[in-house]
Each structure stands twice: as structure tokens, then as C-alpha cells.
């Protein structure tokens, strides 16, 4: 329910968008019934976003776990097709992404366009990896005996993702795409102050062929929800990228909670206890993919 009135330059009153959570392929409001104001770089109201709770995170983990076997078991070719389709849908929503990135990150139109272009290209880059990973990261092991011995990467499982706080679209995609490209499912805590591109991304995901539950996006206060994801026993790994600049978040505390079930932890960039948000415009490598992979080695005798 927008309260501030902008000067309408034309006669029509526009229809505004409601920003909701994305859990299990559906768009619920937070079970807590809470929302919070999202403002632009100059503090002007943009929207009311759902303020997700620990129970929303719990539901998201359930959805992600349920989606995992099928997504992990899909052919790599199929996952690549599905992910490429997301890029197509994003391209169709380019203007909306540009507007949201521009408003949220305080960029010029041209900068915002460049960021959205990079984000879509980033998605395409990761989409293309799905059916290359096993060959690049796996292979035959020449063991000293009459055995066929092969190692192949497999997804770790359900991955909690703290999306970057500043780079609300390019950063988001740079952390979500590598997680799901290999077959993991994700519970994403969107940028706390700039959540709108994440919600729009969820709409792109829902209208492409990504199965419900593969990506779940929670908006809200990172410091409130992240500890519940970090300590959740049914989450296999966590990406702490978004701990940088997150109000009230100490990444070491989250890693400590993650130790309880030996989650794989991708620490935030930076030195020592400091967490910094990296420059997401740099060309990525495989490290964000390999952080959430297991290597499975299979032995079989060779005999007549």
C-alpha cells in the first residue's frame, strides 16, 4: 500500500508491484506478516518487501531439500537448457532490472544497463558449465590394480546463500548461478537493503523452467535469518559472501554455527575477520562452483 504520492505526469495511475518471498516455486508473504521499507540510494521509498523470518527460512530449506533429488538428477544438458532459459526471460525483463538496479544501487542509467547486461551474461556463462563440469573436474584414476576407478563431481545438496549486499543483481547472480548450475538447490537471503532485483529474479525463475524449490529467495534482515540458515542441520553448505556490509552480521559466528553439521563454508572475501564484497565485474573462475561440489569416486574390478 503505497503511501507517498509521486506526481503523475500522465493520466494513468500505475499498477504497482508487490514484492514477496519465493519459496518452493510460490510467492508467499512472510509467515510473520511483516514487511519492511525498501528505499533508494537517496532514501526515497521504493516498495515494501516481505520481511522473512526464521520460519520462512525453514520452509525454504524444506522446499530446497524436496527439489534437490530431481534437480541434481536431471541431465546436465537439461540443467543447461533450463538455466539458459532463465537468461532469456531475464533479457525480456531487462528494463525492470535496470530500473531496480539503478534505483537500489544509485547508478546511472548507463551503468545500470551495463550491470544488467553483465548479470545476464554471467548467468549464460554459468548455464554453459553444467555439462562441462564432470569432464573438467572428474575423470579416470589410473590406480595400480585391475580396477576401473572414476571420480566425478556431485552437488553438495542444499546451499544457503547470503547474497551480496551491494551488488544486488550482478552479485546475486554471481553467487546463485554457480550453486545451482551443478545441481545444488539454494536458499538465498537477498541483499537486505536492495532486495528488489532478487524478487524480480525470482519472477524470472518462476516463469522459466526452473523447478520450484531449486532457488528460494528470502528478503528481510540478514542478521535475523542468516543464523538460522547457518545452524540448520539440513543445509549442507553456506556461502557467506553477503556477510560483507550486512548490518549486525559477523561471518565467523555463522561459520561457527555451520560447524555443527560440518557445512561446507565459502568464506567472504577479505583479510582476517574483515569481510569485503569483491568486484563482481571481474571474470569468474570455477571456485564458486567447486566450493559446493563433492567428489564421488567409484571403483569396480575389471574381470572376464
Amino acid at each position: 500500500m503505497p503511501t507517498n504520492q509521486r506526481t503523475a505526469t500522465d493520466a494513468r495511475v500505475d499498477v504497482r508491484k508487490t514484492y514477496k518471498l519465493y519459496i518452493g516455486g510460490k510467492f508467499p508473504r512472510s509467515e510473520s506478516g511483516r514487511s519492511y521499507e525498501v528505499v533508494d540510494g537517496r532514501g526515497r521509498f521504493l516498495a515494501n518487501a516481505s520481511q522473512g523470518s526464521r520460519k520462512d527460512a525453514r520452509d525454504a530449506v524444506v522446499a530446497a531439500r524436496a527439489a534437490f533429488p530431481k534437480w541434481a538428477g536431471a541431465t546436465a544438458y537439461n540443467r543447461g537448457q533450463v538455466l539458459y532459459r532463465v537468461a532469456e526471460v531475464m533479457e525480456g525483463r531487462r528494463a525492470q532490472f535496470v530500473a531496480e538496479v539503478r534505483a537500489g544501487e544509485g547508478l546511472t542509467e548507463r551503468r545500470a544497463e551495463a550491470v544488467v547486461d553483465a548479470a545476464i551474461d554471467r548467468w549464460v556463462w554459468y548455464a554453459g558449465w553444467t555439462d562441462k563440469l564432470a569432464q573438467v573436474l572428474g575423470g579416470l584414476n589410473p590406480v595400480a590394480g585391475p580396477y576401473f576407478d572414476i571420480s566425478a563431481p556431485e552437488p553438495t545438496g542444499v546451499v544457503g546463500v547470503l547474497a551480496p549486499q551491494r551488488s544486488s543483481l550482478l552479485g546475486l547472480i554471481s553467487v546463485v548461478a554457480p550453486v545451482i548450475a551443478s545441481g545444488n538447490t539454494a536458499v538465498v537471503l537477498a541483499s537486505e537493503l536492495r532486495p528488489l532485483p532478487a524478487v524480480t529474479l525470482s519472477e524470472a525463475l518462476a516463469t522459466s523452467d526452473v523447478p520450484g524449490g531449486v532457488v528460494n529467495i528470502i528478503t528481510g534482515r540478514t542478521a535475523e535469518v542468516a543464523p538460522w540458515v547457518a545452524s540448520h542441520r539440513d543445509v549442507n553448505a553456506i556461502d557467506l559472501a553477503g556477510a560483507a556490509d550486512a548490518d549486525g552480521v559477523v561471518w565467523g559466528d555463522l561459520e561457527l554455527a555451520a560447524a555443527e553439521n560440518l557445512k561446507r563454508v565459502l568464506r567472504p572475501a577479505g583479510e582476517g575477520v574483515e569481510a569485503v564484497e569483491p568486484d563482481w565485474t571481474r571474470t569468474p573462475d570455477l571456485s564458486r562452483i567447486t566450493a559446493f561440489l563433492e567428489t564421488k569416486t567409484v571403483w569396480h574390478p575389471k574381470g572376464r
Binding site: 584414476n141 571420480s151 549442507n236 561459520e255 561457527l256 560447524a259 560440518l262 569483491p278 567409484v298
Partner: protein
């Protein structure tokens, strides 16, 4: 009385020259402890005291880390990969030359049968150094990322079940990638690591590249907590693994953890049954079941369960339990009194929970720590003996009806280290291998290891891999763009 009684065939222990006490191997030489105490290490088969070793203090660990740092900043860090490789080749050769000595010492200190230390532990340890030696000057070909380089000083804490082999799994890749090492062997099995220090000297490795500090949990914690350690590698229990993960939370220390397991060994109705029985035996009675990837849960298809059980028990009656130095011993001593208590407690719980207990009834020596090969039938997923790692010669037998049920039961554990599948149907093997959430799947075989083959777990069995190209990645950093 059997017709064919095997006369005792003991391996001579004359090849081993034990000192009455050992210091710490720091900066290329044995040194006295600063403020540490001493403890005795015993032969678990006889309870005979073998030697006295140092319980290293935090100050000792600090000295060792400092020596490792100097070596890393000095000769080792500047050395070409080719030269590092040649040092590793030297170590591999010396291990082969002194194989008998290492095998006998390992058996004395650990209690494992000489045929295993002789045929498995020591040759595989040498093989690990050979394999990694060749990588030292080829790291840019390993596909690990751009410009792979060492972390720096690596702290390594290893368990008592494969003392020398675990040392090799840890030290070989660390040195091949250019790191320097502070390693702590397990408190009940320090002797082969101390003998390895002698190998390091014979190989003329620069001082400080490998440092061996003996001690118990506090010494390990001092390594884990030391601020100048860049990376930790640990093999041991999941409980300690979690402690380490907590200790390094919020730091920039890297870690690989190779932890516990409760592997399912799954036998289908169409299995090659005689080989499957061997696989079951090898899976759980190899090394007295002191194996993290042991096939401790036998999942057998219900329609052949009775036959498998009968064949298994008949086979277990031929297992020879006793003097680990006897070349015909199949099952040796339990490594320590504490471990024996743990096994006893869990097996008592198995009985109390209603599982049916059977053992092979073999005679056990009067002294030392011993446990008969034991099988529990009628075990349910909910029994402690089906859930907890016993780390002893105890097999829990469960049944299943369909492949899906087998997978569900196999995966129904916080662990995920290994699994076994026995079926003559190729497509079922591949399906099962896909479904099992475990780092190593042995199909129609079990407990096979090779330096080229990545080993490590899913879930609470830890993270990181050891062996192969994958194992190297834990010991290097690359230029990451995040």
C-alpha cells in the same frame, strides 16, 4: 582340533631398534621438550611398554611452527618444483628400503597384523610419496586454477588406525605443493612418525620442512589454534573434526577434514556371493574394523539373508585372531584400552537393544586388548550399533527388499564416507553409485585405496579429498576472482 594347524610364524622384531625415549623432531633434529611431559606408548597386543614419547607443550608447537615458517620462507619456499619432487622421490625410496622396519614397528605400536602393515600400509605409504613426487613440478597442469601456490605452514593431525599411511597421505601432497608441515601423530601410535623423522634426515630434507610433534589432544589443539598455521588437515573422529571446524571459524585458516563413517555394504540377490562374502569380511574386519570407511552396516537383500549369514559365519570361523606379528594373523589387537571399552559399550548396547549377537568364538590372548570378530543380526536402523561408528570388528546386519529401500537405508545417516554395492547387474551398479551419498563407492570390491584415487566424505564425514588431482587442491591457493 584342526588337521592343518599353522605353526607360529612370527616376523622377527630384531629389525626394529627402539630408543627408550624420544624427543620432538623440530627443525631437522630431535630436541627436548620445553615444558612438556612424557607418556608411554604400549604394544596393544601385549601391554608391553615400547618407549616413552614426549607430550609436546604449546611452546613446543610454537617452536615447530616457527621452524616450518622459516623453512617455508627460506630454502623450501625458494626451491624449484623439480627439486622438491626429487626429495619426495628420495623419501619414497627410503620407505621402500626400510619397509620391513616400518611394518614391524607399525604392528608393534598399533596392533595390526603384520601382513597388513607389510602388504598395505607401508607399500601404499611409499606409493603416495612416489605419486606426489611427480606432481611437484607439474602443478600448473593439475587444473586447479591460475597460478597454484602453497598455503605456507600446514598443521596436520592424524589418527592411530593407519599411522604411517595417514602420515603419507598428509605429508606427501603438502610437500609436493611446496608447503611445510607440523604433524602430530596419534598419542597411541607415535613411533612410525618418529621413525619417519629419521627418513627425513636420511633424505637430507632441509630443516623445518617436516616437523613431528608427539602428544595428545592438547598438543593437537595447540596446532589448530596456532595463529601462524595457514592450513589444517585432520583425519579422525567427527567429534574432533567439528571442534576443529569451530576453532577455525572466523579465521582464514583452511581445513580438510576426513572424519567418521558408517558405511553400508549392500549385497543384492544376484551378487557374486563368494566374493561378496570376502568383501564383507574385508570391509569390516580389515585392520580390526579400525577403518573410517569400514563397511560396518551390512545391508543384505532379504531373500538371501539367511544364506549370506551362514556363509559369512562359516568364513569368520577361519579368521585367525592373535599375535599381530604372526604372518598368518588376520585380525590383530584393538589399538587401546579406551577403544576396547568403546567397542564393548556399543556392543553391549546392541545386545540390550535386542539385536542378536554372534562371535566366532576364537581364543583370545590373555594379555593385551582383544575383541572377537562379532556379527549382530536382526539390527534395525534405530539401533545404536546401526547409527554410531563402532570402529571395531563388529558388523551390523540389516535387510532390504528393493534397491530403493537399500539406498534409503544406506543414506539414512549423518555420515557419507563410503559404501559398497555387490551385484552382477551393471546398470544397477551405476544407478546405485549415483544414488548413494558417499564419497567413495566400491562396487564388487571394498576398502581399496590408491594415491591416484580421491578419497573423502560427504556430509558429516568431512570435507576435502585426499589423493589424486583433487587431493592437491586442498594444499594450494589459486588466484580467485570470486
Amino acid at each position: 582340533m584342526a588337521k592343518f594347524e599353522y605353526a607360529p610364524a612370527p616376523e622377527s622384531r630384531a629389525v626394529v631398534d627402539l630408543a627408550p625415549s624420544y624427543g620432538l623432531f623440530i627443525n631437522g633434529e630431535f630436541t627436548e621438550s620445553q615444558g612438556g611431559s612424557a607418556f608411554k606408548t604400549v604394544n596393544p597386543a601385549t601391554e608391553e611398554v615400547l618407549s616413552e614419547v614426549t607430550d609436546a607443550s604449546a611452546a613446543d608447537v610454537d617452536r615447530a611452527v616457527a621452524a616450518a615458517r622459516r623453512a617455508y620462507n627460506g630454502a623450501w619456499g625458494r626451491m624449484s618444483g623439480a627439486d622438491r619432487g626429487k626429495y619426495l622421490f628420495r623419501i619414497a625410496r627410503i620407505l621402500q628400503e626400510r619397509a620391513r622396519e616400518f611394518a614391524v614397528l607399525e604392528t608393534l605400536d598399533n596392533g595390526k597384523p603384520i601382513k597388513e602393515s607389510r602388504d598395505v600400509d607401508v607399500p601404499l605409504a611409499a606409493a603416495h610419496f612416489f605419486y606426489h613426487a611427480g606432481w611437484a613440478d607439474k602443478l600448473e597442469y593439475a587444473g586447479l586454477g591460475t597460478n597454484p601456490r602453497a598455503h605456507g605452514v600446514v598443521g596436520q593431525v592424524i589418527p592411530w588406525n593407519f599411522p604411517l599411511l595417514m602420515l603419507a597421505w598428509k605429508i606427501a601432497p603438502a610437500l609436493a605443493t611446496g608447503n611445510t608441515v607440523v604433524l602430530k601423530p596419534a598419542e597411541t601410535t607415535p613411533l612410525t612418525a618418529l621413525l619417519f623423522a629419521d627418513v627425513v634426515q636420511q633424505a637430507d630434507l632441509p630443516p623445518g620442512v617436516v616437523n613431528i610433534v608427539t602428544g595428545a589432544g592438547a598438543t593437537g589443539q595447540a596446532i589448530v589454534d596456532h595463529p601462524d598455521i595457514d592450513k589444517l588437515a585432520f583425519t579422525g573422529s567427527t567429534g574432533v573434526g567439528k571442534m576443529i571446524a569451530r576453532s577455525i571459524a572466523g579465521t582464514r585458516k583452511k581445513a580438510t577434514l576426513e572424519l567418521g563413517g558408517k558405511a553400508a555394504n549392500i549385497i543384492f540377490e544376484d551378487a557374486a556371493i563368494d566374493q561378496a562374502v570376502e568383501g564383507i569380511v574385508n570391509g569390516i574386519f580389515f585392520n580390526q574394523g579400525h577403518v573410517c570407511c569400514a563397511g560396518s552396516r551390512l545391508l543384505v537383500q532379504e531373500n538371501i539373508a539367511a544364506d549370506v549369514e551362514r556363509r559369512l559365519k562359516r568364513r569368520l570361523e577361519t579368521l585367525r585372531v592373535g599375535d599381530p606379528l604372526d604372518k598368518n594373523t588376520d585380525v590383530g589387537a584393538i589399538n587401546s584400552k579406551a577403544q576396547l571399552s568403546r567397542i564393548t559399550e556399543l556392543t553391549d548396547a546392541g545386545e540390550a537393544e535386542g539385536a542378536e549377537r554372534w562371535d566366532n568364538g576364537c581364543e583370545l590372548p590373555a594379555k593385551g586388548f582383544w575383541f572377537r570378530p562379532t556379527v549382530f543380526t536382526g539390527v534395525s536402523q534405530t539401533h545404536r550399533i546401526a547409527q554410531e561408528e563402532i570402529f571395531g570388528p563388529v558388523l551390523s546386519v540389516l535387510t532390504f527388499r528393493t534397491p530403493q529401500e537399500a539406498v534409503a537405508k544406506a543414506n539414512n545417516t549423518p555420515y557419507g564416507l563410503s559404501a559398497g554395492v555387490w551385484t552382477e547387474k551393471g546398470s544397477r551398479i551405476l544407478w546405485m553409485a549415483d544414488q548413494l551419498r558417499a564419497g567413495v563407492v566400491w562396487a564388487n570390491t571394498f576398502n581399496k585405496f590408491d594415491p591416484t584415487s580421491p578419497f573423502g566424505g560427504y556430509k558429516e564425514s568431512g570435507y576435502g579429498r585426499e589423493g589424486g588431482r583433487h587431493g592437491l587442491s586442498a594444499y594450494v591457493t589459486t588466484e580467485s576472482n570470486g
